[in-house]
Subunit: 388 residues, 2 copies
């Protein structure tokens, strides 16, 4: 039996993780489940999966849940509760699938306890890449990416020698606005941006996909996970999202991982690494090559989608720059979804914060938490200024 | 230093193998070189690579070479000479790249000496799959396929658990006549058939590609190399020849190996397995995804290309059937190239031989040599009858 705790069990990745667990109840059991405020769904999940306990980040939701539920396990509250849930060493794997910077502290807490981390929260490595990867090394913890792209790279790397990698090729769908002019981009609505052509995901990551910031984050994540220099990480637009990423080796050979867009494959791969679990075709429909559209590739356009350029620049600058990038992006995306910013203002807001805030070369986790706060405040202020 | 002997050093694979050896002279040295009759090229090769010795299968060519050369190494003659060259245990790897059934005996000889075999001659496994793979097991010899397809599968399998493979997907370019009707196929000329859209190869394999017999052979080869049931080996037409083959796993994930069509990648991979050698971009041009044509896939048409069906049927029947398939095909291809048979007569001739000749369930190597002879005689006779 393998015990899996899930940070963000009511989100898109959390729900699909529970689907994978449910498909093989003789192998998996749920450890802790956490949510921010979606206590109705959490109630259903505790009934079905009988976890050790739950943690609810939002205090009002915590009190509401506590009074209404018949759940007999532990019920914890707030960030501290989520960190406590993440740190329970009875878990063999922690699925870290919170949204945004909120994933950093509980993921760090799990690493300190030596728990294997399946990392679906890419903001953790974007904001605190050095701190997190150093902690993982120190505690001998394997970080297994749950992005389809990094899972693809990991699948292409098994059995290979890291020294024999020439470059990583991360594919990008290009998002819903791949063919829009900058003028058109300035008028797109949140509803349009939330319609991803290939993947059904949470709101935050869907907007990040539309701006290509998500791809920028993935470059940063690949940099930390695979220890490959930025100049050897390439982004290629592949609108059909069938090839999830590739690795090119020193002999010119390229390996790719393919499949219909379905996060259950990378989720199950991370939970069972280095083995694969049998996933029934009813749960994970198989790729039928002869029914595929033609597969195409083109270069990304960093003029129309400056977020990708900003991400490359931030990781080149390193230190606190990626944390600023991430914090400003979270505020910008939120403001865009609230109708308070134009789509094309998102990179402008981020660039402003990167330029205005001081950089620190080798930040501690406390430094990162501080700069994250500072960047959020500046981003909120500047966001209001941009609107008026 | 790694010593590599090459059976068929003057053929397409042999020449490219020497290119790979020449690119890293500090790693590789040539053991034995063999040719059938191309002694001019052999002369250049011995000057440049200074092998232990050479073997020349054709007796007249042997005498001619022996009298004209200044080469001081051993010079052997005939099939016996080729087998002696193949058996020299000073070689770390034998590149088995003869054409057709002629590869069987020397490859077997090398296996009996415990020499690792890089197998470019697929007819060896088609004709004598059980005998060869049993001998390899008994002598603890690794057979490393040099086809682009089987190399692709091997590259996708490293680091994976064989039990977790769901199916192998072998890609086929579809050959130059992919879109021709059966009527058009009956009139194609050898010159048209020798123009392969993607690969520059020897004549025999180029015709086999045009009939899809080559793909049938590859199914048989995959069956023996990877121990996967026929029902789990699928052929998909992929006209661009960029994806060289794929492996689908039990979790629905598909891994593919890609690259420009270039045999130096699988040659170098087999010579260095499980490591990859650095091949300069001047020797092996890199895949540029953004300059690729769109990648497409479709099902093969066994009505228009019955050779693929015949190969599946022969391996299902097993025993001596695949040896008959191969022998009849060699005669049919030769007759087609001589203008003595129509393109559409190739599968008819093969089917006739498969129907007429007796089958034996568990043939020895001697049985296979005998049925190969018998099938050739029948094929020649029937070929003349078809023509008249």
């Amino acid at each position: 039996m393998k015990t899996v705790s899930i940070l963000g069990s009511t989100g898109s990745i959390g729900v699909q993780t529970l689907d994978v667990l449910a498909s093989q109840p003789e192998i998996f059991r749920a450890g802790w489940l956490t949510t921010n405020a979606r206590i109705d769904l959490l109630e259903q999940q505790v009934q079905r999966f009988q976890p050790f306990g739950v943690a609810i980040a939002d205090e009002n939701s915590y009190h509401e849940f506590k009074h209404s539920t018949s759940f007999k396990g532990k019920i914890l509250c707030g960030v501290e509760g989520v960190c406590e849930a993440a740190s329970d060493r009875r878990a063999d794997v922690l699925m870290s699938s919170l949204v945004g910077f909120s994933g950093v502290l509980p993921t760090f807490a799990a690493i300190e306890q030596g728990i294997t981390v399946a990392l679906a929260n890419k903001e953790t490595l974007v904001s605190a890449g050095a701190v997190i990867t150093n902690a993982a090394k120190a505690h001998n913890v394997r970080l297994l990416a749950v992005d389809s792209e990094h899972s693809a790279i990991l699948q292409c790397m098994v059995g290979e020698t890291p020294d024999e990698v020439e470059k990583l090729i991360i594919t990008a769908s290009g998002g819903p606005f791949r063919e829009c002019s900058t003028e058109m981009l300035s008028t797109v609505t949140p509803a349009q941006a939330l319609k991803h052509p290939n993947w059904a995901m949470g709101n935050k990551i869907t907007i990040d996909s539309a701006t290509l910031m998500n791809k920028g984050f993935e470059v940063v994540e690949a940099y930390w996970l695979f220890g490959i220099g930025l100049e050897r990480i390439e982004v290629v637009v592949h609108p059909q999202s069938i090839i999830h990423s590739m690795v090119q080796f020193v002999d010119g050979s390229v390996k790719a991982q393919m499949g219909l867009p379905d996060m259950k494959i990378p989720i199950a791969y991370a939970l069972n690494f280095p083995h694969r679990m049998s996933l029934d075709a009813s749960l994970v429909p198989r790729l039928n090559l002869t029914e595929l559209p033609q597969l195409t590739f083109c270069a990304p356009d960093v003029e129309r989608f400056p977020c990708l350029r900003l991400a490359y620049e931030a990781i080149q600058q390193s230190g606190t720059a990626p944390a600023i990038l991430n914090a400003a992006n979270e505020i910008a995306v939120h403001a865009f979804l609230q109708g308070q910013l134009r789509f094309t203002d998102i990179p402008r807001l981020i660039e402003h914060c990167l330029q205005q805030l001081p950089h620190k070369a080798e930040p501690t986790l406390a430094d990162i938490v501080a700069i994250d706060n500072e960047a959020r405040m500046l981003a909120k202020t500047y966001s209001k200024a941009m609107k008026s």
